[in-house]
Symmetry: C2
Amino acid sequence: MSYEDAIAATMTALADPTRRDIIQRLRSGPLPVGAIAAPMPISRPAVSQHLRVLSDAGLLTVTPAGNRRLYAIAPDGVDRLRQYLDDLWDDALAAFARAAEDQAKGKSDE
Amino acid sequence: MSYEDAIAATMTALADPTRRDIIQRLRSGPLPVGAIAAPMPISRPAVSQHLRVLSDAGLLTVTPAGNRRLYAIAPDGVDRLRQYLDDLWDDALAAFARAAEDQAKGKSDE
DNA sequence: ACTTACCGTAAGTCATCGCTTACCATTTGT
DNA sequence: ACAAATGGTAAGCGATGACTTACGGTAAGT
């Protein structure tokens, strides 16, 4: 999986409100599928499908614990997206400063 | 627009590969619509629609310049998502550490 | 051994989204 | 004033995605 594909998968995974909801429920710690799905307005299989997407994106880890499967937020996956945005942020600021300079120069010619 | 809605719009906007492509082309500085669309494999109206989504999400700013419209990356929009991920990162690390502790405790009972 | 609990997968349906073509408005140049 | 350039909007179409029900498979309790 290339870097761009990984970013794409992570972005797509977090774009869905239901999946962000799941992430919220895991912020305080790992949970089995049933505990995640119980308070949610959708069926358990739907949650399973979302968990699959989040896992494939590297945002969650799965730990089989006997009968159940514990899902937890994977710090690595979050960090990858964080670094992408940090880079973007740097370029955006630089371009912003450059645009401000150009505008100042342009003003002096008027 | 609530905070959660803003995050949702930003995530959704960046989830599309074409829109990330547009963002890439703007990393070096502002561009008019035509210059953005020219090297891309889709039509100009399609690009316009994507620019609309990105602007609504607060990721781009528009500056009418006579005949043309200059689009530029909005650092504020990027920063909002960055902070969201920073918070998530903090919680993920804390939960990870807590899970490791719990596991250590559990081990001692076996 | 049998039943119950937990969970992933498959198939099908419905809504959403991205793209195209066609059209219109505004601005620049002659 | 007229023609060309720039770009946003509308309608329609095809594809992707999220959800449901139904099913199978493994682990735990009796």
